[in-house]
Subunit: 139 residues, 2 copies
DNA sequence: GTTTATTCCTATCTTTTAAGTAGGTTAATG
DNA sequence: CATTAACCTACTTAAAAGATAGGAATAAAC
């Protein structure tokens, strides 16, 4: 029932980038340094974020990553859904969902659906902007 | 982010026993048969439920397991917390919680706490009785 | 146009945990 | 005392998470 490090790290990356709040590209090396995460491992996570269009990368000197949108345009759900395989609490609620033979008799399906909704609602209610350090912009 | 089979199976066991709605002890063999779960594996799960006082076991002929309380006295949260290691979405919210060095600077702690609460609230609002087959007792 | 900084890509390794199995011991009943 | 069934301890297997390595492509700087 745990959120994986992939999910947690991806959130931290997004927050880190949002806090730089610049239009410049920030190299992975810097992010990894600040966050204390291995560069190589972080690479594999950031790849997912780029593929999901939450970040854009630019190669070569002066390159790096930056957000594609303003922080308040990302929900935490958006971010986690990309790096967690799924946010569904049980596999029968996932996309592929190989139609359970017990589905009709299943006493627990509604329960899991409700839990799924509760989790999703919560995570989609919170934006990246909500997670930034409170000092910012408040003199 | 998945509930383990242990958690799911334990719920099914509890529902199965509640549906027998008898004061008699039900042998593991029967439960396993009805639920299509390996006896040996189920044994390891039921052990946890007994240890947690959700069930009582009786050995020997005529023995088996039965609920210790009425179905509406168990919440789903009670049941899952026993068999899932933890319902917490991140390890820093667990019991042992080896005090994270980033705790103060952590932008995401409040988020996870909120998620934890959302999950817990949901699961504690639903009782075992809510999961029984609707036909029962309604002519 | 060569050097340098950087993302991108593919593959592999390691560790951990979940899932499942096996065999033997104790207790209650008839 | 034979049978049924919980209880206990240990082991095995399989899958997933976590992490690492090396190099190819690309863009800017000089």
């Amino acid at each position: 029932m745990l959120v994986s490090t992939k999910g947690r790290y991806s959130l931290r990356v997004m927050i880190d980038l949002a806090e730089q709040q610049s239009d410049k590209y920030v190299p992975l090396k810097e992010i990894a340094g600040r966050q204390g995460i291995s560069e190589k491992y972080l690479e594999s996570i950031i790849k997912l974020l780029v593929k999901g269009k939450l970040l854009t990368g630019l190669r070569g000197k002066g390159g790096g990553y930056k957000l594609t949108k303003a922080p308040d345009q990302y929900t935490v759900g958006d971010i986690l859904r990309l790096t967690e395989e799924s946010l569904a609490p049980v596999s029968c609620l996932e996309e592929d969902a190989p139609s359970c033979p017990r589905r009709d008799a299943c006493r627990t399906l509604a329960l899991w659906q409700g839990l799924d909704r509760a989790i999703g609602d919560y995570l989609d209610r919170i934006t990246l902007a909500d997670l930034l350090r409170p000092e910012d912009g408040q003199p």
